[in-house]
Amino acid sequence: MSLSPAPKVRASECSGKPRLQAIWLIYIREMRDQLRDRRTLFTIAILPILLYPLVGTLLLQIAQFTRQHETSVCLVGTDHLQDGPPLLEGESFVESLADDKARLKVLQYRWNDIASSKDVAEETSSWVRDGTFDIVVVFPPEFASPNQPANSDTAAVQLLYNVGSDRSMVARDRVESILGNWRGGWIESRLVESGIDVEKINPFRLNDIDIAPERTRETAFWSKLLPFIMLVWAMTGAFYPAIDLVAGEKERGTLETLLCSPALRSEIVWGKLGAVTSFSMFTAILNAGSMLVTSSFVFKQIGVGGGSIGPPPLTPMLWLLVALIPLATLFSATALAVAAMAKSSKEGQYYLMPLMMITLPLVLLPMLPGTTLSAGTSLIPVTGMFLLVRALVEGQYYFALLHLPLVIGVTSGCLWLAVTWARRQFDNESVLFGGGEQWELNMWVRHLWRDRQTAASPAQAYACGAIILMALFFGKLAVTQAPQGLAGISKLVLTPQIGMILAPTLLMATMLTTSLRSSLRIRMPHWTTLPLAVLLGVTLHPMYVMLAEWISFTYPISEQAVAAMKPFTDQISAAPWLTILFLMALVPALCEELAFRGFIFGGLVRERGRLRAVIITALMFGISHGVLQQSIAATIMGLLLGWIALRTESVLPGILIHFTNNALSVSMERIADSQWEGAVMFVTATEAGPAYQPMWIVTSAGIALTCILYFSTLPPKINESETDYLDIDGNLSDSTTTLATA
């Protein structure tokens, strides 16, 4: 057999930049592949088209059943209805008492008709139980007795119904309404008999007037519900294709085939991301559309909202589609990155379910009453976009425009992180070919001990962070009383700092690494960085205070929380200064820096994880503070501390900055109240507390910026403990790659 040569292609096309044509090709293939998959089609297209009309039909049937079916009512003891306004008119209830007489079939018994031969309670119960009547109303002899107090138990009218029967429950609602009206008649007649003018017991009337613009009225219901439905389905719509296109391809072996093709990894990621995003959007749009059509029809039929909820105005709803693009891309990129970790579709489902659980609160948060678009909510991913869309749909354009930059900034940042994560996953051999081994505890423990290195591994760093955060969380739950005296404050500070932050860090550094010093990044940096760190701590503090004030303004602390914290702050103000410096500045600076910028940072910075180390340690550091306002400020400060830890390759400058910052925070009041004359140049006492002088704020900002510029001139270094993975060319290779058997 001979094979003819093929036309030559230009190898110059193999450049490092992603080619639009290749991305498009991959996108089209993935789309076609998914559209040919019956399971995907069913989940994404068929299910929403069928689901909502089916649910709608069911609702309609229930509503029709509730309205139209005939209720059989048995009245026992009608001979006791002598007094008061009439309840019955011939064979049925009085017309003015019942909304719709046609739906009620009434059978009447005199008391002795039953009581003469049987026990009334037993007999009437059996009628309801076996379905002879939907409801039985019993008027006991005491009901008619003039000596019996009307509200006594023996004189009470008894309604016998069966909660297990829908018909019986509907009957109860109808009869209760009739008896309620009848009772109203009694009250009115008795008032008249007592000589009271009925009109006088209603001193005023209530007229409620909705002043909302027509558009707001039209969209009030849909602007909350539709974004929620769309986002939930955008998430769901992204997950299944993401699993199939990555974990499924890995399982079938076709991913390796694609990786051998000239397509760049980035082209593969973009192509697949495009396909997953498209499916995510289709699912969201189809579900929202199907729900919209069905519910508009059903609501009108059954008269929900007094018939005021009709179909939403379509033009404002287009804003939803605009917002769907970045959010669907965000969900898709995250799902793609997570799915890349799985070896099979089944495993992918295990990984994506927790992701959905984490994302769901962000979608649910805007549904909570009172949650509106503000500077604070704009900063929350997904939630901010949701609220912005709601404002746009309701026509509040100026208000939305005001928050647009923040929302776009946060969404773009999250999008960038998610796409970068997905791209990195596809560049990682361990992700694409790893995971062939079965996990065994003894093997893992042996591996931990045998393969100890001078610094922590990324997994050990994550584990340390998780242990610290969990310990702090449960530790906080255990605190039920405000601290009493200095001993109480000491216990409150030292227990979490030493017991929950430092102890696990030291334990892990000792057990899992070969060098305590290297793993905690305790190294002498260039000597200039130490005084500069102190200077930076001092000059950065005014801006830190301003940041804290802005955060408190954006996310106000509740008055209850302030009141609860007051005894603690009062005790700190009253305690000896040096003791407070030790407790509130030195101890946190040492413990938190050794944990976050030491052990955890040292583990995360490996394998080209510089950005990861800075961001993750800042987030962990922020979360460890527990209170939202403090957490935000600490996260921002953590980013700077992480960056300095990277530049100086040491934990020491961070400790100095952290100490200086905390020391100034707890000393400001004392400085303002001190006898030192020079203090007024920096701090002044105001009604709201000590505040920095504006001149000093400007000057310190300039000095802080200069210090930061100096730190930026230091080259980012990789320590000797972080060179375990360096090959001879200085490239970081992936020794964590698990075995891909030959």
């Binding site: 292609v9 085939t257 760049l264 090959d727 030959a742």
Partner: protein, 269 residues
Amino acid sequence: MIHVQYLTKTYEDLSRGPFIAVDKVSFKVGSGEIFGLLGPNGAGKTTVLRILSTVLSPTSGIATVAGFDVARNPADVRHHIGFVSNNTAIYDRMTAWEMVEYFGRLHGMPPQKLKQRLEDLFGQLRMNEFRDIPGAKMSTGMKQKVSIARAMVHDPPVLIFDEATLGLDVLVARNLLSVIRSLRESGKCLIFSTHIMSEVEKLCDQIAIMHRGRILDTGTLKELRDKHEQPDFEELFFGLLSNHEQQETSDWNAEYELDTAIETVGVEK
């Protein structure tokens, strides 16, 4: 065409610690040659081929394909190779024609020329009868033919076959070997990994015997037979493997004794 020098690949393995899958492997393959990588399962053959196809990156060492470095110019390397794996991985929901066309387009082939190339390939590999059948409904033989067509669609100068005859029936395997021979005649550079000795004997111009990540010996069949004075290739193969295992055991013992001696000296000091 292919130049491999001191190629090493290390993995982190939970049970064994850092594991060297490929250990300082070196070889060269020229145009119009079939280079056979022969070794038992776990010898490191697939890892070498995955590095050559740029799916894995080397821990150290150099590998160039068609003049391009696998670590520095992976896209160029992929443009000059065709890779056929042992798992005949093809897309279940694409027809034979669509799949080969897709990879041709990924290689940037113009539509008209690609169509002509597809017609030629489908004719030569006798694939026309199942060109419109989706992958899920194909037999193993059909799938392997599609894999070969996919690898050859852009007419690469280098073709890599990773245990390509594994799981194929005798007829399909024979047909595949015939295709590989015809590719050699057209001047292609071929690497063929297998653990079936008869295939290597029949097909390969150069043979490298691999075991536990290392190449134990390399040369033509005649050179190997002469060097080891063993006319039976199977005996030669097992002899080499057995010697290597014995040597590794003695090396390990020597290393252990050396460590013990150093510790003893250290204590005495």
